[in-house]
Amino acid sequence: MTPDLTQWLPWVNYGCAVLAVVAGLRVVTGRQLFHSALALGLSLLSVAGLYFVVAADFLAVAQILIYVGAILTLIAFAIMLTTGFGDPTIPQANRQRLPAALITLAVWILLVRVTVAIPWDQLAAPQPRVPVATVGRTLVTSYLLPFELISILFVACLIGAIAISAQRRPMS
């Protein structure tokens, strides 16, 4: 008999949310840049876990593949090609730390107050799980044009990145 795991779902949910925020804090305050990159990976994985909880499986897998797999690798490459592990005694934050914290806190309080003031769960009942087939059908019917435009954007990005970072030899 398989144990019923759905009773643990709220715990997984809150655990992922807390982990995402704690890792996010480490991303923006860590002194060693490579550790920040690893914390970013943990935060992105926790968000993927949150997607799994709301049964957005396809999105969760895409998040892991693209964000954790591709973007994080790129960031690790960029860190290694520039400062490497670096000197942890060099301050990573500029002198605007206090005003920045105040502005951020003000934005956060505004967002949270607006969020709490609205009775979200009474506005509409949660929808049933959307199967992956439906997501795929929506992607290639109603959203076909943006889907194709994204591929043009990808090609433009690739060519642009190569053109920007290619070493130019002086004309002989």
Partner: protein
């Protein structure tokens, strides 16, 4: 988890990213903070989609945001690498000349 908790998680992640963009000196770290903000926006879209969406449009939009974030990271890191080669500095507060 009630929907408000999702929104608060996403708002917190967004504000952390904002703080990172405002305070970090390393250009790569600023880019990482931007990724955090994009991710928070995505979380918000998915949380709202759970309430209103029966056709998977929320997931499709979130997928587009992930793709755009990938493009942004590629071009951003290429620019950072070129600037690092030219100016020999990764600190955003050193890079204050557009030409020179």
């Amino acid at each position: 988890m009630p929907l408000a908790a999702w929104f608060i998680t996403s708002a917190t992640l967004f504000c952390l990213g904002l703080y990172g963009v405002l305070t970090r000196r390393n250009a790569v770290a600023i880019l990482m903070a931007i990724e955090l903000m994009l991710n928070a926006a995505n979380l918000n879209v998915v949380a709202t989609a759970r309430l209103l969406d029966a056709r998977g449009e929320g997931q499709v939009v979130a997928l587009f945001i992930i793709a755009l974030a990938a493009c942004e990271a590629v071009v951003g890191l290429a620019i950072i690498l070129t600037v690092y080669r030219q100016a020999k500095s990764i600190w955003a507060d050193d890079l204050h000349l557009l030409k020179g």
